[in-house]
């Protein structure tokens, strides 16, 4: 409905002046006659609204995304540095590390754990059921009782040499295969130990199963096979 341009009073269809303020409407009528404006459909209003909305949100989104990447880039700007030695060597002991769901073990922690376990192997070979207390052997801090006992049985060659005044020593640990199966880890290594007699070497192919036992790592299963020289 047409309204008076001065006071807003609704106008009759054929009215030439406002019924309230007497403001003439002749001019408008003439304009309307010359240029008939088709009424805008409401759906077109909605469509143009959606178009503008998408445009505005899109440009805000693009602007936000651009500022975000820029800011993260500046945050990560410090150059990459070499790792501290204590992070990757055996300077810190791996068996008393604790983990949680917020601080889970990284894959390198598992490798470090197994590598430090291998250092206890020459000592394990000395174990005698008759005379020794299990708790004094450091391997027990890494593995379950079953795994420890299977090691004692598997280390016969080193055990035979351990009567010598010079103890056997670890020479190399080569990690061959390392996978996760659900929440357990499987590590395969090739380990070489040096026996005192004539610097003879003994090599083992070993498969470890490692698990997160409540909050710490534990070796649950070991299969040690001697590799013939």
């Amino acid at each position: 409905m047409e309204r008076c341009s001065l006071c807003g009073t609704p106008l009759e269809t054929e009215a030439t002046a406002c019924s309230y303020c007497k403001h003439p409407v002749l001019k408008k009528q003439r304009f309307d006659e010359e240029l008939p404006v088709s009424p805008v459909k409401p759906s077109r209003h909605v469509l143009s609204f959606i178009f503008i909305f998408v445009l505005v949100i899109g440009s805000i989104g693009t602007w936000y995304a651009l500022t975000q990447t820029d800011s993260t880039r500046t945050m990560l700007a410090p150059p990459v540095q070499a790792l501290p030695l204590s992070d990757w060597s055996d300077e810190t002991s791996a068996y008393n590390q604790t983990y949680s769901s917020e601080n889970p073990p990284a894959s390198y922690d598992i490798l470090k754990f197994v590598r430090q376990y291998t250092q206890t192997v020459p000592e394990t070979a000395n174990y005698s059921k008759a005379t020794d207390t299990l708790e004094t052997f450091s391997a027990i801090q890494f593995a379950t009782l079953d795994a420890f006992q299977s090691e004692v049985d598997a280390l016969r060659t080193i055990h035979a040499a351990s009567d010598s005044p010079v103890p056997p020593r670890l020479q190399t640990v080569d990690f061959k295969r390392f996978v996760s199966k659900g929440d357990s880890y499987q590590v395969r290594t090739v380990e070489t130990y040096q026996l005192p007699a004539g610097q003879q070497l003994v090599t083992y192919d070993v498969r470890y199963n490692v698990r997160l036992h409540t909050d710490h790592l534990q070796i649950t299963h070991i299969v040690r096979t001697e590799v013939p020289a």
Binding site: V54, G61, Q81, A106, S107, P165, Y185
Partner: protein, 210 residues
């Protein structure tokens, strides 16, 4: 129409709060084996995780030259500059390069600079003779071969070759029949000490200029 507008707004908001995948979390936490286990071969991050496992196993085996090769392969992957996998691989590469430099400096022939005998009561120099030749192996870079060339006290010099596994801090401690021998590389050279029932004999060795 209002419903359409509302749906549009919701979908836009959902797009903004994109939830990072579990694999992404694992990669950020360095759990590369889990990331391999839980991703398929088609997953774009699968190869990166697989290579990280290879890199870490080589690095943990102290196979430094192999580690550098794998780290370079990771660098070639189409990963963003700030990708945690890329950053970790780069740090490992820098650590191994640093280590190889130190090993290069440590390898060589050493001669006796000073000697010290500590028998628990007094410390004094003792006459000694000979040279030591140190070289590091491949692929196990920290496995050194030490050749004693008429080395030791003047009355009983030794000429043997020993295979010694060093720790990354370039020190080694080996048990002997009656005591311990330890090797420590430092900027000044190599300190070799024999600890036994007769006290502690320390040889301070200096690299021979070549």
């Amino acid at each position: 129409m209002r419903i359409i507008v509302l749906l549009l707004l919701c979908s836009l908001l959902m797009g903004c709060a994109e939830e990072p995948s579990r694999i992404q979390d694992e990669l950020e936490l360095g759990q590369y084996t889990q990331a391999v286990d839980q991703s398929s071969h088609q997953d774009p991050m699968h190869d990166a995780a697989q290579l990280m496992v290879r890199l870490e196993t080589q690095f943990a085996s102290y196979r430094f030259e192999d580690s550098i090769t794998t780290a370079r392969m990771i660098e070639q992957l189409p990963l963003t500059q700030d990708n945690p996998v890329r950053l970790r691989a780069k740090s490992i590469q820098l650590s191994t390069e640093e280590m190889l430099d130190r090993l290069k400096q440590a390898a060589g022939t050493y001669q006796i600079d000073r000697t010290l005998l500590d028998d628990g009561q007094e410390e004094k120099a003792f006459p000694a003779t000979g040279q030591l030749k140190v070289s590091f192996g491949k692929p196990h870079t920290l496995l050194a071969t030490i050749q004693y060339q008429q080395f030791g006290t003047t009355d009983a010099p030794r000429s043997v070759t020993e295979s010694v596994h060093f720790e990354p801090d370039l020190s080694a401690r080996l048990a002997l029949s009656e005591g311990v021998v330890s090797y420590v590389f430092s900027r000044a050279g190599l300190t070799l000490s024999f600890e036994g029932p007769g006290g502690k004999r320390i040889y301070q060795l200096k690299k021979v200029d070549q």
